[in-house]
Amino acid sequence: MLVAHKNDSRTLVARVLRQRYLLLVAIPGVLWFLLFSYYPMWGSIIAFKNFDFGLGILQSPWSGLDHFVEFVRDPDFATIMTNTVAISALKLVFGFPAPIVLALLLNELRSAGFKSVTQTVSYLPHFVSWVIVTGVCLQLLSPTNGPIIPLLAKLGVVDPNLLIMGDPNLFWGLAVVTEIWKEIGWNAIIYLAAITAIDPVLYEAAKVDGAGKLRQVFAVTLPSIAPTVFIMLTITIAYLLTTNFDQLWLMRNSAVVPASEVIDTHVFVQGIQLGRYDYATAVGLFRSVVSLGLLVAANQFSRRITGTSLY
């Protein structure tokens, strides 16, 4: 009898009963993820359908790969892909090393007080929105009453009528510079933490071997933070097609559209503004699938090079 009773208590029903309070929380939590994350993933199937409001997602007729083909054949396709990849690549080339350099330089500051002041100031812009950054740029870069252009014009460096925010040739640069300005301090945090974790014995050993400061950076610091660098690089590469929508959407205006139309803005215009849900979803899905592929590839690469990986 006693044995049978013990077996009973091991059944699922008994476990559920015993965990009823936990499940009271876990079930709504799981339902939340199913509704807000997984249902939209399922809803992405309209990328393969000709979506009809009256018929709904399930009843709308299939369209196969029509929307994907339309995107690839779009006369703007080349421009969109060029802008997307170029802006991301420029951010990768200039924006990725910047916080690493900042972290290395911060680490060399002798005064702990000055170091902490610099650091505290450097990540402040991370916490203001792109709306504010855009508004600030508009004021700051105004050729008529901003403080910068008239000064540079007086020095003969730039044309006094230079409208940085309205010049398609300068848009990529503006996107990269403002992104670095906003995120350099924030992104340096993780590298500084990695540098702080390096065993001082390694530096002592390098000094004994006659290594100067610069040599120590290359022989000790950089190899020690390499795993962190590769993890961050993996994430950055995975997001190569995901441009910063907030930044690009807010900073652009009709004058710079040719330089600023990227996948994300194309999805927004087609889907939200023109109501072409099926087509826009297809474009978005194309982006997500390529991103997932990039993530897997970058992760594989990182694992092979440094033995560290995201998952």
Partner: protein, 299 residues
């Protein structure tokens, strides 16, 4: 024993340049904020004349008075405050509860649920299907569109769960269970009160997210009554300022060469949107470093 290698000249030069560089970085970071502040405190028409760079030239509170008299901006500010307070409280509670439950090793389906959550960090559906969902749920023109989708996230759950797992000894819970308390009572009476560091981290992240979000107001609100301050700012930046603001600007005008302008009022609005961030900044920076570092710890 101190290092016996002398400081070389090259190193001394480097130190000097490093300090100069960092000072430059501080100035480049802070100056844009300073410039907007002086614009907001300077007479609008006076600023338009150009040359304003370092200090206020013709001091005035008029730009702020225009904002105070603009019902759209006052309402936008209140909407922002409301969604930040309600959204953050709800998110902290939901995240903490769910993370605590997931930290229980014996939870049925724990691994499956964790996998379900983690996957959402790597793959998202994109904005269109999410937009369609919100419409189907009748969340457009509804305050809940700010709160419900932002209740939690995979990242917040993972850092909170890691905190619970590494900071709360199982013995605390076991002894409470023996005293007859159930898991939820333990959570509210014992765990919640002692988890201030992680709860503050989550709260600050979520609060800043709510305060800074312009997108939800931009796409889900077709009526003006629930538009938050950041979305209003987008409209002001796009020159589509509310007519109430234009008339307030004209009403406060002091003739042809003085009074507020759209730029000066825009600057004042930006200052109003930045100030709350600056106020919580000391708290933010105390907690967030810990937050992102906990988040980077793998299981």
């Amino acid at each position: 024993m101190k290092s016996n290698i002398k400081t070389t000249n090259g190193e001394r030069v480097f130190q000097v340049f490093n300090v100069i560089f960092m000072t430059g970085l501080i100035l480049v970071t802070l100056y844009p904020f300073w410039y907007v502040l002086i614009l907001s405190l300077n007479d609008g028409h006076n600023s338009r004349a150009g040359g304003l760079a370092l200090v206020v030239r013709k001091f005035t509170w008029t730009n702020y008075m225009v904002i105070l008299n603009d019902p759209a901006i006052v309402r936008g500010f209140l909407v922002s405050v409301a969604r930040t307070v309600v959204g953050t409280s709800a998110a902290v509670l939901a995240t903490a509860l769910f993370s605590y439950v997931l930290a229980q090793k014996h939870l049925i389906g724990r691994r499956l649920i964790t996998a379900l959550i983690t996957f959402t960090m790597f793959f998202g559906a994109g904005i269109i299907p999410v937009y369609m969902l919100m419409r189907d749920l009748h969340l457009t023109n509804n305050f809940l569109v700010y709160v419900l989708p932002a209740l939690t996230s995979a990242f917040m759950i993972l850092i909170t769960r890691t905190y619970f797992e590494s900071n709360i000894p199982p013995s605390v819970q076991e002894s409470a269970m023996i005293d007859g308390a159930n898991e939820l009572q333990i959570f509210f009476k014992i765990i919640f009160p002692v988890s201030a560091p992680i709860l503050a981290t989550v709260a600050l992240f979520v609060a800043v997210g709510h305060w800074n979000d312009w997108f939800a107001g931009y796409i889900y609100m077709t009526k003006p009554d629930l538009v938050p301050l950041q979305t209003l700012l987008v409209q002001i930046i796009n020159q589509a300022a509310a007519t109430s603001m234009m008339s307030a600007i004209q009403g406060a005008s002091g003739g042809v060469d003085s009074g507020p302008t759209i730029e000066s009022v825009r600057s004042a609005t930006m200052v109003v949107a930045i100030v709350p961030i600056v106020i919580v900044y000391p708290f933010l920076q105390r907690y967030f470093v810990k937050g992102i570092l906990v988040g980077s710890v793998k299981e």
